[in-house]
Amino acid sequence: MNRLPLIFLGVFVTFASSWIGLVVYPYFALGHMQPLPDEETGGTFPPGNSGLAVAGQRVYAANGCVYCHSQQVRLAPLTTDIAKGLGPRQTVARDYLRAQPVFLGTMRTGPDLSNIGARQPDANWHHRHLYEPRTVTDWSIMPSFRFLYKIRKIQGQPSDDAVKGLCGPHAPPPGWEVVPTADANALAAYILSLKRNYPLPESPEPPVK
């Protein structure tokens, strides 16, 4: 095996096989998928996202949420994802049509977020949690994202979008309020848009016992 062409051929062919299987194939098989129509409401599955939610994906990416939070409900009965209430069914390729980038994630240092918009639909809860996770869950190890919020003096009436329910040492001083920045609002909108609980024919929900 002393000739360049033979080694080159081998090196090329072995690698090309996986390139075709794991890159070219999904490009054609999954890369041009269309959403399904939702006859009930005239919308689509998966539903389109608001502009704010799309902007929120960038904030999600910039601050590396994906390193602790997955966004995939894996199949049953191999895994207990569905039994643990992460979502009603396995998430499949069509669920990620509108995600850019796709945050499947490889860690669950924090809980899965595939359906967080359905499991916790309260925007103020998310703002409170992002501002100081330990006001919501005292054992949480999530970092605080208070750099996405502004503490400012209340001018007359408290603003509508001020974060409510902050308590203890995390509460702003009297006469002051915590308000989300545009980034925080986008991030919360994105989190609330994460709902993968609509029906898709290729992912039948496992029958209830």
């Binding site: 299987g21 490009y27 999954l30 590396g64 191999l78 207990t80 998430t91 980038p101 190890i141």
Partner: protein, 492 residues
């Protein structure tokens, strides 16, 4: 200014005049400046990367630490750590070792090394811009590809110089047999640009739609480890183990089998990071199968290295390069066999999404690859500078600090991750309990980071002394005189 005179300007007495006629020394010398530049910058990034990793690790137990600023949040430090060590340390040290080995094995001096020097500079600019971009909030959050789109072209251009150089060297090698390390290097230098270009085009510049991104992402990320770092690490081990103990590799046939089965199976492994995920099931099954098939190349390499070492294990006491290399080679076997088990779906459900995987990644990238690179550097640097390492005990400190550090890290992450996985997967376990199980082991992991950082500081000091300090030349220039009667030093 040519590289000879540049190095000589540090210490003119070190002009390797005594070796001018020596072919090997001449080839070594021709690689001196670019290789030392890659090594030096790699060690800088190693320090930076260990520090970033250390802070990120302690944030797992102290979430309120440094949480006021955006750029020190965990979600930015972690990708900064990863990209620093992958592109700054591991790739640059691998390129340095690869160039030196390639020149030596092809038996031709490196010409126009100025091109490679500019490549090294570009590469480091790319890493610097990329890591600063991540900290500034431009991360793509695509694992192993976080470096923002404006920095990747710099890396790619730098790489193009390097890769083309390695292939040209192979093309113009002296006639004769091709050694197994050369295939590994040749293949790695071809595979990496293909990987990197595919991933950047399909994920960053013209992103494909939907979950196919996940497939491309893990095809890339796993193959950077498997088809870029692994071949370089193995090439180094395949050269250094026989060369240091002075005995040919046990079986050349095994090494051929090992190489081709690695090329065929490793490249299909990526999807085992996504078992149960939103992909046509055959893609995942193919990766599971390929991961189990990895047994073949791994066992082949393990037998080959072990049988070569058989009867020579005392060499670990007197050769620093061998000690690190053998540690790396053994970790390769361990990491790969662990990887095979982690790809089996019923076990993957427990280990996936937990610290167990982080432990596995460090076993592969640190205990195998980085240790192999330390070993190679201990062998190469004296031959480039014409000096002896300044202190044997400092080398021993380096070895024992990083060896104990990495074993502590992997051990704690593995046990903590397994408990975490049991709690997350088991129906009775709550999310809170999974966190509580993992926490004490995360403390241990944080402590291991200090050991590693200390070891790296020792190594960086040694390396700096090699470049700057007038050397003792008692044993003749840098061990070039063969040390046949290796007198065992007081061990350990």
């Amino acid at each position: 200014m040519n590289p000879h005179s540049l190095i000589a300007s540090f210490h003119p007495a070190n002009e390797p005049d005594t070796l001018a006629s020596h072919e090997r020394a001449e080839i070594d010398a021709s690689t001196r400046f670019p290789v030392l530049l890659f090594f030096g910058s790699a060690i800088f990034w190693l320090l930076a990367g260990s520090l970033l990793g250390l802070v990120a690790a302690w944030k797992m137990t102290h979430p309120a630490m440094l949480d006021q600023m955006a750029w020190t949040t965990f979600g930015r430090l972690r990708p900064a750590h990863l990209n620093t060590v992958i592109y700054g340390w591991a790739s640059a040290s691998g390129i340095g070792v690869g160039l030196w080995l390639m020149a030596r094995l092809c038996r031709i001096p490196l010409i126009h090394s100025r091109l490679l020097i500019s490549a090294a500079i570009f590469w480091n600019i790319g890493v610097l811009v990329g890591v600063l971009g991540i900290l500034a909030g431009d991360s793509r959050s695509i694992e192993w590809l976080e470096i923002p789109g404006y920095a990747t072209p710099i890396l790619f251009v730098a790489y193009a110089f390097i890769g083309v150089w390695a292939v040209i060297m192979f093309r113009y090698r002296k006639p004769g047999h091709v050694y197994v390390s050369q295939w590994y290097l040749f293949a790695a230098f071809l595979w990496f640009p293909w990987l990197y270009a595919t991933a950047n085009i399909l994920l960053i510049w013209q992103p494909i739609q939907g979950s196919a991104q996940g497939a491309v992402n893990w095809w890339f990320a796993h193959n950077v480890l498997g088809l870029w770092f692994t071949p370089i690490g193995l090439a180094s081990a395949y050269y250094l183990i026989p060369k240091i103990i002075g005995r040919p590799i046990h079986s050349y046939y095994l090494s051929i089998l090992g190489f081709w089965s690695l090329a065929l199976f490793y490249s299909w492994n990526g999807m085992h990071h996504l078992i149960g995920g939103p992909f046509p099931v055959w893609m995942v099954s193919a990766s599971v199968v390929a991961s189990v098939m990895m047994f073949i190349p791994v066992v082949t390499v393990a037998i080959n290295h072990h049988m070569t070492m058989l009867g020579h294990f005392d060499a670990l006491k007197w050769s620093p390069a061998l000690r690190f290399t053998v540690f790396g080679a053994m970790s390769y076997t361990l990491a790969s066999l662990q990887g095979t088990t982690m790809a089996i779906p019923s076990l993957n459900t427990f280990t996936h999404f937990t610290d167990y995987t982080i432990g596995h990644a460090h076993l592969g990238l640190y205990a195998f690859f980085s240790m192999a690179m330390f070993g190679a550097m201990y062998y190469i640097v004296p031959r480039l500078t014409g000096r002896e390492w300044p202190s044997a005990s400092a080398i021993r400190w380096h070895f024992w600090l990083v060896a104990s550090g990495i074993l502590l890290m992997i051990g704690s992450l593995t046990i903590g991750g397994a408990l975490q996985g049991l709690a997350q997967h088991g129906l009775a376990g709550s999310f809170k309990s999974s966190l509580e199980y993992a926490t004490p082991f995360r403390w241990l992991r944080g402590i291991s980071g200090f050991l590693l950082l200390a070891g790296h500081l020792v190594f960086a000091t040694l390396f700096a002394l090699m470049l700057l300090k007038p050397a003792r030349r008692k044993d003749g220039p840098a061990l070039l005189a063969a040390t046949a009667e290796a007198n065992p030093e007081p061990a350990i």
